[in-house]
């Protein structure tokens, strides 16, 4: 960790300030939530004490992170490509939606597989879809029949 050259003021790290603000907000949420708790303990700590302790720590760390950000003390970051990240998150959202609406395990995980694979640069969506469907069907059968763990069933699973 470099202590920085005091003669040359470094740029303020905006992301670092956002992180500090988020930590402070989290501390506030903790305190707000703990106010609804009743201390029923006769002696010692009630359930509201620990959240306040953790919130205090978070608030101090928010200050620490803020100072680091102002001084530009954060490690250098390489550029990041947002497109693949968004693609994977879309895949996760699809998975959650399909599970939520009863579409079943096979369709849900296949959607995630295809979007992730596309995020990592594959363009053969049709081939990947077939691979995904076959793989998740095999996983479903292995879990359902061999391990007797229940995975959510949808229209495809009922055909098996």
């Amino acid at each position: 960790m470099s202590s920085g050259d005091p003669a040359q003021p470094r740029r303020v790290d905006r992301a670092g300030i956002v992180i500090a603000a988020l930590l402070a907000a989290l501390a506030a949420v903790l305190v707000w939530d703990s106010r609804g708790l009743q201390s029923t303990a006769m002696y010692g700590m009630g359930p509201e004490a620990m959240p306040v302790v953790v919130a205090t720590g978070l608030a101090l760390l928010a200050i620490g992170n803020f100072i680091d950000a102002i001084r530009g003390n954060l490690p250098a970051r390489e550029s990041a490509d947002p497109v693949p990240v968004v693609l994977i998150l879309v895949g996760l959202a699809l998975l959650i939606a399909i599970i939520g609406f009863g579409g079943g395990f096979i369709l849900a995980t296949s959607a995630l597989f295809v979007t992730t694979s596309a995020a990592f640069g594959r363009r053969a969506v049709l081939v990947d879809t077939i691979i995904a469907l076959v793989m998740s069907t095999l996983i479903y059968l292995a879990f359902d029949r061999l391990l007797t763990l229940s995975l959510p069933a949808g229209p495809l699973e009922r055909l098996l």
Partner: protein
């Protein structure tokens, strides 16, 4: 001493039962296979497989977890040597020299010295574990709740602040974990904390959901976001797999020295295998008769750190089994494995379930032998796993990662939490916050809180109880020193820099 041998013999009798041998074999096999995959370390391997095993019998599946743990360590070094992407920070030192050896066509001996070194170190360290554990258990039975609380404070500080790049970022990670640990129903009063009226949150944050989100989803997002930076290249294993006489001569001392670094540092609640591996690396660099080879593929630089890595893995089992104290992400996942069966590692477990504990320790010896066989002749099989194209690899990892959650709790809330922790893991990697303290905070936070509250209830609310017990007072002092040391040292460093 005699007791230890008797207990170990009894444990061996448990471990060689055919079913348990099978569990150990499945464990080392899965551990190696998943550990070989780039970007997956032993912690994630255990996290991925936890939900799948909760219907199995506890003894067998703990033996399987131990196999996964050791197997993941072996597998990780294969990846480090052949494609220079260490799955975990403990393999970083191995990657330094090992990948150079592979590029120079000496990948075979590099893999061999790391496998045999891991075996030697793992065996010696497991013997250490078997003899140190009963002694520590005798000591730990005297611990009161305030002593446990103080011990956890030490673990919190060492895991997050003392050895990382930045104590502030490490502590931030820890406090995020502690916050997550608060979610759910308070066990003493039955009141809900941080649940915001969501029924799924009343049970608290599931450790596996957090770990899989942070490690698997976070890693996939991170690798995807910076795919345009680096192209990893798989080095084929060329030439002989076997070590020459010269290789043996240059390897055996680094193995033993690495073990000497790894086991004690792993056994102390000092967090992680990075320190011993880098200590071993720099020691070998200083002691070698071939200094010109360092940086170009010196076998000592693979043998030492690999031994240190495995010895510290066995070392972290000492505080985990005797005190219930996880000091690495993987140990935290092992603890979650115990908790899944309602078992709490600690002195009581040694007294109540000696068959389970000693069976587990004995099975570590067996797992080590299995791994030596699995890794030397079968290395070609594992190398083939590395040839899976990256898109399918990460797509598959994500399918497996979500599958665990879907099997355990197929709810929209739980899956959204998994995705949310994935984003958190991505951001933490991007902004260089360490991940392990979050997992340790989530697991240890609630335990530390209940120990503290118990201690205060016994002392009728007098906080001085923490300082009146000599054990607790000493440990709190250690925690304070460990917390302040990095700040003081940094200040000294700045002072020196100004002098120049």
């Amino acid at each position: 001493m005699i007791d230890t041998f008797a207990a170990l013999a009894h444990g061996m009798a448990v471990a060689v039962q055919p079913m348990n041998l099978l569990y150990a074999l499945i464990g080392v096999f899965l551990g190696t296979a998943v550990g070989v995959l780039p970007g997956i370390g032993p912690a994630l391997t255990v996290a991925l497989l936890l939900p799948v095993t909760y219907k199995l019998d506890p003894g067998g599946s703990l033996i399987m977890f131990a196999g996964i743990y050791y197997g993941g360590m072996y597998g990780g070094s294969t990846t480090a040597i052949l494609i220079n992407t260490p799955g975990e920070s403990a393999s970083m030192a191995t990657a330094l020299e090992g990948n150079k050896m592979a590029k120079a066509g000496r990948g075979g001996p590099a893999l061999a010295t790391s496998a045999i070194g891991s075996f030697v170190a793992g065996t010696i360290a497991t013997i250490g574990l078997a003899f140190l554990a009963p002694w520590l258990v005798d000591f730990a039975v005297r611990f009161g709740p305030e002593d446990y609380f103080a011990l956890m404070c030490v673990a919190f500080v060492t895991v997050s602040a003392t050895f990382g790049d930045s104590p502030i970022r490490g502590l931030t990670s820890l406090f995020i974990g502690l916050t997550l640990g608060l979610v759910g129903i308070d066990k003493l009063t039955g009141q809900a904390r941080l649940a915001f009226g969501v029924p799924e949150l009343l049970d608290g944050v599931e450790v596996t959901t957090l770990a899989v989100g942070l490690f698997a989803v976070g890693e996939a997002l991170y690798v995807a976001s910076r795919r345009h930076h680096t192209e990893e290249k798989l080095e084929p294993v060329r030439g002989s797999l076997w070590m020459t006489k010269e290789d043996w001569k240059r390897s055996w001392k680094p193995w033993l020295r690495g073990t000497m670094f790894g086991f004690p540092i792993g056994a102390l609640p000092a967090g992680g295998a990075e320190i011993p591996t880098f200590l071993s690396y720099s020691t070998e660099k200083r002691l070698t008769k071939h200094p010109e080879e360092f940086g170009k593929g010196a076998i000592e630089g693979v043998a030492g750190p690999e031994a240190a890595n495995n010895a510290s893995a066995a070392g972290t089992l000492v505080p985990l089994l005797t005190l219930g104290l996880p000091t690495s992400a993987t140990a935290a996942m092992m603890l979650a494995g115990f908790q899944q069966y309602g078992l709490n590692p600690g002195p009581l477990l040694f007294a109540e379930r000696p068959d389970l504990v000693w069976g587990l320790i004995a099975s570590l010896f067996i797992a080590n032998c299995m791994l030596l066989v699995l890794n030397l002749p079968l290395v070609g099989l594992w190398v083939r796993l590395l040839a899976i194209p990256q898109p399918w690899l990460y797509a598959g990892i994500l399918v497996f990662a979500t599958m665990g959650t879907i099997a355990a709790k197929p709810s929209v809330v739980e899956l959204s939490m998994l995705a949310g922790f994935g984003v958190l893991g991505f951001l933490m990697r991007r902004f260089d916050f360490p991940i392990a303290p979050v997992v340790v905070g989530l697991i240890l936070g609630p335990i530390a809180e209940s120990q503290l509250r118990r201690a205060l209830a016994i002392s009728l609310g007098d906080p001085m109880t923490l300082l009146q017990s000599p054990i607790s007072a000493t440990l709190l002092g250690v925690a304070l020193i460990a917390l302040l040391a990095p700040f003081v040292l940094k200040g000294l460093g700045r002072f020196k820099a100004n002098e120049d």
